[in-house]
C-alpha cells in the first residue's frame, strides 16, 4: 500500500468489511491522496457518513469521524460546520443514502451552498442489504426488489446538484481514478457546496444479478457507459441512452452559507437595522 496514504488510516480497524472487488476502497484511496496533496492536518478534518457500505469509510480514517443515521450525513455535517466553520467538513454517501432517504438534505445543502464536500459513491444498488434497487439503478437492470427489471427512472445527481445551487459539481468513476482524485481535490478546496459523484462497482450485489460476475467485468461495463462530457454532448438522444457523462459540470464562486451567516451576526450585533 502507498505509504503517503497509510498515515491517514486507523490500522487497527483493518481488515475492512468490503467485499473483494468493491470500488469503495478505490474512492477511499482517491480521497486520501487528495487530502495528502492539499496538506490538511488530520485534526481539522471532519468526515461524516450515513448508512451503507460506503458509510463505513469513516471508521477507517484517522480524522474526526462520524457514522450517522441513514441519509442524514449532510444535516449532521451542517451542524458541525456551522458550530465551527474552521473545520474541513467532508461527507461520504452511497447512492441510496444520498439520493433516496437523504435526497431532501442533499438538495437543501446545495441550496444553502454551505462549505461541505459531498462524495457520492454510486454503485447503483443497495449493497449492504443485499441488492435492492436504488434511485440510481439504471432502468431495466435487475435488483432483488426489481426481479423483473427496474422500471424507475434514475436521478441525474449532477444535474440535480447544479440546479439546486451547488458551487462545484463533477462526475467520475473508479475506472478513472486519476480523474476522480483530481475532481475530489478541487471539490475539497472549493468554498461552497461541492459534489463529486463517483460511479463504482458492486460485483456482489449488483454484478452477479446483472450478469457481470467479476469485478473486471463490472469495471469494463463502467468504462463502456461513462462518456467524457464533451463527447457526450455530441451524441444523439438514442446514443445517450444508458450512458453517463463524466467531467466537471459546474465550477463557480458564489456566496457561501457560513460566511453569509457571519454577516447576519454582524447585522444583529449592530442592532439589526442597517446592512
Amino acid at each position: 500500500m502507498n505509504n503517503e496514504i497509510v498515515q491517514y488510516l486507523r490500522k487497527e480497524m483493518f481488515p475492512n468489511i468490503w467485499c473483494p472487488g468493491c470500488g469503495i476502497g478505490i474512492v477511499l484511496g482517491a480521497m486520501l491522496r487528495a487530502i495528502h496533496s492539499i496538506g490538511w492536518e488530520k485534526d481539522e478534518i471532519v468526515m461524516v457518513s450515513g448508512i451503507g457500505c460506503s458509510s463505513r469509510i469513516t471508521g477507517y480514517v484517522d480524522f474526526n469521524t462520524m457514522n450517522t443515521t441513514h441519509g442524514r450525513a449532510l444535516p449532521y455535517a451542517t451542524g458541525i460546520k456551522m458550530a465551527n466553520p474552521s473545520l474541513k467538513v467532508i461527507t461520504v454517501m452511497g447512492d441510496g443514502d444520498c439520493a433516496a432517504i437523504g435526497g431532501n438534505h442533499f438538495i437543501h445543502a446545495a441550496r444553502r451552498n454551505i462549505d461541505i464536500t459531498a462524495i457520492i459513491i454510486n454503485n447503483m444498488i443497495y449493497g449492504m442489504t443485499g441488492g435492492q434497487y436504488s434511485p440510481l439503478t439504471p432502468t431495466g437492470k435487475i435488483g432483488t426488489t426489481a426481479p423483473y427489471g427496474n422500471i424507475d427512472q434514475c436521478f441525474d445527481l449532477t444535474s440535480l446538484a447544479v440546479s439546486a445551487g451547488a458551487s462545484y459539481v463533477a462526475r467520475s468513476s473508479v475506472f478513472d481514478v486519476i480523474q476522480a482524485t483530481r475532481f475530489i481535490k478541487k471539490a475539497f478546496l472549493k468554498k461552497g457546496f461541492s459534489v463529486v459523484e463517483i460511479i463504482s462497482d458492486c460485483p456482489i450485489s449488483f454484478g452477479r444479478i446483472n450478469r457481470m460476475r467479476t469485478p473486471a467485468e463490472m469495471l469494463e461495463w463502467i468504462k463502456s457507459i461513462t462518456v467524457p462530457k464533451n463527447k457526450w454532448e455530441k451524441l444523439t438522444p438514442e446514443e445517450k441512452e444508458g450512458k453517463l457523462p463524466t467531467g466537471e459540470f459546474l465550477d463557480i464562486n458564489i456566496p457561501e452559507y457560513s460566511k453569509n451567516y457571519q454577516e447576519v451576526c454582524i447585522r444583529a450585533q449592530q442592532g439589526g437595522k442597517d446592512k
Partner: protein, 381 residues
C-alpha cells in the same frame, strides 16, 4: 432576596424557554416551524446571532435534530424544539444522540395527537413517547415545568443535565405553558449554576473516547480539539469502534441506562405540597400540577386532607417517593391530559399499598381544580 435588583419580565412560556437556554449557554439552535413551538425558533433567530451563536431553520425536523447533534459534537451547547408530529420525526436521531452520548436538549411543546391532532390545544399524551420514543434500551431524562418561571429555570436544568450526563434531555411543555404569559424573575448570571461537559485530561495518545469515569460518564472531546475519534450509532467499544463482542455490547447498553439510573438523586426534581398529614395525594405534572395545587387548597377548606406531589422530572421516575407516599395515604389520584399514562408508573411504584386512580381529560381543554376535587370526593364516598 439579595440587594441586587432582579430583572422582571412578562414572558410567554416559549420566550422563557429561549431566555433559559441562552442563560445556560445554548449557542446553537436548529428547528423547523411547528405549532405550538414556533416562538422558540423565532426567539432563537432573534437572539442568537447577536451572541455569535447559530440559528438554523432546517429543511425538516429530522435535519434539525441531526444538525443539533452535529453542532454539539463540534462543541456548542445545542437545542431544538418541536411538537408531536415533529418529535416523531426526530426519534431516530434522538437514539443516535443517546448511544453516541451527545449532549442536546429537545423541547416538546405538546399538542393533542395522534397525527396532526390538535395543533392549538394542550395535551400530555407524549410522556411515554418521551421515554420510549426511539427504539432500543436507552437512557432518557425528561423534565416538565408547570409555570413560566419554572420553564426558564428548568430549561437551564435541562441543558445542565444534558452536559453533565452526556445524554439527550427532553423538556416537556404544552400548548398552554408555551403560550401563557406570566411575570418571570430572571436570575442574575452569577446565581445560575452552569454545568459544562467534562473534557478529557489524558494525553491524546491515551484518549479512549468512550471510557467512562466512576460516574459512568466519559469525558467528551469536541471535534477539532485535537482528540480525533470515531462516533458511530453502531454499538461500540471504549475506543468508539463498532463491536460484536458480547461483553462490550452488554457493558455499553447497561452503562448508558445506568449513568442516569444511578444518578437519580441528582436528576429527580419534585415538589411536595401539604403532604405531611395527607390521606389523599394528587400526583401531577406540567400545567395540571397548577390546577392540582388549587385543588389541595379547596379540599382542605372542606376538611379533606389532600396533598400534592408535583413531578418536575418525569423520567427517571420517582419510584421511591411514590412508594413512601403509597404507604402513607389511602388514595392517589393522577390527573393527566391523556388517557392515563403516568398513572401506570404510579401504580407500579405504589406496589398495591394504596388505591391509585386516574383522572383523564383528552378533549383539548385543561383540567380544572374543581374536576379533580370532584373526583376525590366521589372516590371518598
Amino acid at each position: 432576596m439579595s440587594e441586587k435588583k432582579r430583572l422582571e419580565k412578562i414572558l410567554q412560556g416559549n420566550e422563557a424557554c429561549v431566555e433559559g437556554a441562552i442563560l445556560a449557554g445554548v449557542r446553537f439552535f436548529a428547528g423547523y416551524p411547528i405549532t405550538p413551538a414556533s416562538e422558540i425558533a423565532e426567539g432563537m433567530a432573534q437572539r442568537l446571532p447577536a451572541l455569535g451563536g447559530v440559528f438554523m431553520q432546517m429543511e425538516d425536523e429530522i435535519a434539525s435534530m441531526a444538525a443539533t447533534i452535529g453542532a454539539s459534537l463540534a462543541g456548542a451547547k445545542a437545542m431544538t424544539a418541536s411538537s408531536g408530529p415533529g418529535i416523531c420525526l426526530k426519534q431516530e436521531n434522538i437514539g443516535f444522540a443517546a448511544i453516541c452520548e451527545v449532549p442536546c436538549v429537545i423541547v416538546n411543546s405538546q399538542r393533542g395527537g395522534p397525527s396532526t391532532g390538535l395543533p392549538t390545544k394542550p395535551a400530555q399524551a407524549d410522556v411515554m413517547q418521551a421515554r420510549w420514543g426511539t427504539h432500543g434500551d436507552h437512557p432518557m431524562i425528561v423534565l416538565s415545568p408547570s409555570d413560566v418561571t419554572e420553564v426558564l429555570n428548568i430549561t437551564i436544568k435541562a441543558i445542565n443535565f444534558s452536559e453533565k450526563y452526556r445524554t439527550p434531555v427532553m423538556l416537556m411543555l404544552d400548548e398552554v405553558i408555551s403560550h401563557m404569559r406570566e411575570k418571570v424573575i430572571i436570575p442574575p448570571k452569577e446565581e445560575i449554576e452552569i454545568i459544562d461537559r467534562k473534557k478529557p485530561t489524558v494525553v491524546k495518545e491515551d484518549f479512549l473516547p468512550y471510557k467512562a469515569d466512576d460516574d459512568l460518564v466519559p469525558p467528551m472531546a469536541n471535534f477539532g480539539s485535537g482528540y480525533r475519534y470515531h462516533v458511530t450509532g453502531l454499538v461500540h467499544n471504549e475506543k468508539g469502534y463498532p463491536t460484536s463482542n458480547n461483553k462490550e455490547i452488554d457493558y455499553l447498553i447497561r452503562r448508558l441506562t445506568n449513568k442516569v439510573e444511578l444518578n437519580k438523586k441528582d436528576i429527580i426534581l419534585e415538589e411536595k405540597y401539604l403532604l405531611d398529614d395527607a390521606r389523599v395525594a394528587i400526583v401531577a405534572y406540567g400545567s395540571v400540577a397548577r390546577a392540582a395545587e388549587r385543588t389541595v387548597k379547596l379540599a382542605r377548606e372542606k376538611g379533606i386532607k389532600v396533598g400534592l406531589l408535583k413531578l418536575i422530572t418525569l423520567w427517571p421516575f420517582s419510584d421511591d417517593t411514590i412508594s413512601q407516599l403509597a404507604s402513607q395515604v389511602d388514595l392517589i389520584v393522577v390527573p393527566e391530559m391523556n388517557l392515563g399514562q403516568m398513572v401506570r408508573e404510579v401504580q407500579r411504584a405504589a406496589e398495591g399499598k394504596c388505591r391509585v386512580i386516574s383522572y383523564s381529560r383528552v378533549d383539548g381543554e385543561l383540567i380544572n381544580p374543581l374536576e379533580i376535587l370532584a373526583k376525590i370526593e366521589e372516590e371518598g364516598k
